[in-house]
């Protein structure tokens, strides 16, 4: 045993290879290999008549992405992702600010746990919870009825682009659910960024004659901004690729994830599904590049 240990001890490069080998081989073969397969598939096409995948290089599948229906899907999804991101930033800020700057160390620990439990908890069940809450006969409708303001809800649902038969089958419902499930991903980075704003900076601003709201706008907000950008990476990316929420609460107007899901599933058009996936990948790459410029990675 000792001899063997010594053999390895004297060869640190070999140890490094042994340590790094298994995880890297796994990630390279399984993950990068799969991404490569994805890329390859996006250049295949489906034979419309036989329903079989033709394994020959073509960009015909990519050309399909430019059909108005598909462009609609992209813009609809990106619009939702943007709306969710902005809303989450607004909802997340007060709690993140409170945890970072006002909570005692003990309370801080508990609040942090309170934020991260939903982050790790069953995403699916949390979507399901909103299906219950938003249902026609559910708690939200009951609440509006209780206050005798049913007409507000009816008016909302009658709006053309965002309404629907009930909250649980409408873009509004999806929006609320998306905001809810990705919220913790926004709180944590903002809190981390605010945590790094030294108290002395806030005091200095007050000292120089700024009132509370000026200090907030001129000092706290700019310093928290990288955190907001970091959080937005998650909220944006997760909304972009999700198909559970549109599937559960949406209507026939597809989102990217949903389209990918149904192309690979029911219609067996894996090439089109693969090509469509390149959309979110490219959007996220661009997003990450911008986020990096804005200093978001330091806040992660």
């Amino acid at each position: 045993m000792n001899r063997l240990s010594t053999y390895f001890y004297l060869r640190p490069k070999l140890i490094l290879l042994l340590l790094l080998g298994p995880p890297m081989i796994y990630m390279f073969v399984v993950y990068l290999g799969s991404l490569f397969a994805l890329l390859v598939y996006s250049f295949y096409r489906l034979d419309e008549f036989t329903g079989l995948v033709i394994r020959e290089f073509t960009i015909a599948t990519y050309a399909q992405l430019l059909l108005p229906a598909n462009l609609d899907i992209y813009s609809r999804t990106a619009g939702m992702a943007l709306a969710v991101t902005i809303a989450d930033a607004l909802i997340a800020f007060p709690l993140a600010y409170y945890i970072a700057k006002f909570a005692s160390p003990r309370l801080k620990t508990w609040l942090y746990i309170a934020v991260t439990i939903p982050l790790w908890s069953s995403y699916l069940v949390r979507v399901y919870a909103w299906k219950l809450i938003l249902a026609k006969e559910g708690i939200i409708s009951w609440f509006f009825h209780f206050l005798h303001i049913d007409f507000v809800l009816e008016w909302l649902l009658s709006l053309p682009a965002i309404g629907g038969s009930s909250l649980s089958f409408s873009p509004i419902g999806m929006f609320i659910t998306f905001c809810y499930i990705w919220l913790p991903y926004m709180i944590v980075p903002i809190q981390t960024a605010l945590e790094r704003v030294p108290k002395s900076l806030i005091e200095a601003s007050g000292d120089l004659g700024a009132n509370a709201s000026q200090t907030f706008r001129k000092v706290v907000l700019p310093l928290a901004f990288p955190g907001v950008v970091a959080g937005s990476i998650f909220t944006f990316s997760l909304t972009l690729g999700d198909f559970i929420v549109p599937q559960a609460l949406g209507n026939s107007r597809y989102f990217i994830g949903q389209a990918i899901y149904s192309h690979q599933g029911t219609s067996g058009n894996l090439p089109l599904a693969a090509a469509m996936t390149m959309g979110p990948i490219v959007i996220m790459m661009i997003y990450l590049l911008i986020a990096r410029k804005l200093g978001a990675f330091d806040a992660l």
Partner: protein, 351 residues
């Protein structure tokens, strides 16, 4: 101390390849070092940070290996032996106590690895705790101890294995001045009692001077001088040693030629220079130089004078305040004086 050589460095070099964001290159952390450390000696490796002393220690321990040259422990080449096969133990700068073990378990760690029976282990742990004056601490956790106490535990944990050589990596660096001085005395007495070779790394010249039997002065990966503290202090072999160990005046160039009649550079300690009246006479074997007192700093026990002996050449002179008061000495500013010192107190430090 005996004539047996405990540790021998033969032309040891350690080259690191440093990769940086935009530049890479080789750094010779240890550069062709040769030295012999005798059995039972208290030997210090002294030098500023980055001088290679810690790398040398790490190579003795086995955490690092020489790029070239060889290291022998009691005659056996250990250059390529891992740390766990060397009969040396280390006291780390940050103590490196295992936080998940009690003090007793920490000290017994080496014995447990060697499968020493439990009863024997407990006995030796108690002996060690007595030696470092922490009896009854076995059940505590490292986090419950003060810095000084952790230091003693680290010492006990290393000594319990009866190593042939004990390596100490700036062990007193993290302690405050008072505790440090107390630990210096204690370490020295423990070394005498256990009688093993101590190799002690420090950047504190005073610490090295007080504790060592012999010491090696490191600079930029090289050994500048090896010798007993008195030898290093009184006969520094280079201007670096003269400057690093204690304070020293360096006399070279035109000034040296005029005063000593030699082209060599000399070092002379401030306390060896005597401040005399302008018309004082040098006795045989003495050298003198005329100058003007530029600055006087009264320090209670002694006074430090800065005397300009030539344009731009200042000598520091230290005189004990045996009969003078602050009033007297401060009046010396601007006065023309004559400096005297014994020729034998000058040491040549090269060109």
């Amino acid at each position: 101390m005996s004539d047996v050589t405990a540790v021998e460095f033969k032309n040891v070099s350690r080259v690191f390849f440093v990769r940086h964001r935009d530049q890479s290159g080789e750094v010779r952390a240890v550069d062709d070092v040769s030295m012999e450390i005798s059995d039972g000696e208290f030997f210090s490796l002294l030098g500023p940070s980055g001088s290679g002393k810690t790398t040398c220690l790490r190579m003795i321990a086995g955490f690092d290996r020489p790029t070239s040259g060889s290291i022998r422990l009691y005659g056996k080449d250990v250059s390529n032996l891992p740390p766990y096969e060397r009969d040396v133990n280390t006291v780390f700068q940050d103590y490196a106590l295992f936080p998940h073990m009690s003090i007793g378990e920490n000290i017994a760690y080496g014995l447990m690895i060697r499968k020493v029976p439990r009863a024997e282990r407990d006995k030796r742990v108690d002996e060690m705790l007595d030696l470092v004056r922490l009896p009854g601490f076995a059940a505590r956790k490292p986090s419950q101890l003060s810095g000084g106490q952790r230091q003693r535990v680290a010492l006990a944990r290393a000594l319990v294995n009866h190593p042939k050589v004990l390596l100490l990596d700036e062990p007193l660096g993290a302690l405050d001045l008072k505790l440090r001085q107390q630990m210096q005395v204690e370490l020295k007495s423990i070394q005498k009692r256990v009688g093993i070779t101590f190799i002690f790394v420090t950047h504190d010249q005073e610490e090295a001077l007080t504790m060592s039997d012999r010491m090696a002065v490191f600079n930029q990966g090289r050994v500048e001088q090896i010798g007993a503290p008195s030898e290093i202090y009184e006969k520094p072999a280079s201007s670096f040693v003269a400057g690093f160990v204690g304070t020293s005046n360096l006399l070279g160039g035109e000034a040296a030629r005029r005063i000593t009649g030699s082209n060599q550079t000399f070092s002379i300690r401030p306390e060896k220079i005597h401040l005399g009246p302008q018309n004082g006479q040098a006795s045989p074997g003495q050298v003198f130089a005329d100058g003007v007192v530029r600055d006087v700093v009264y320090l209670g026990l002694y006074t430090r004078y800065l005397v300009e002996v030539e344009n731009g050449v200042d000598l520091v002179v230290v005189e004990q305040n045996l009969r003078t008061t602050s009033m007297d000495v401060l009046k010396a500013r601007g006065r023309k004086v004559r400096l005297f010192w014994e020729k034998e107190h000058m040491s040549q430090v090269g060109g």
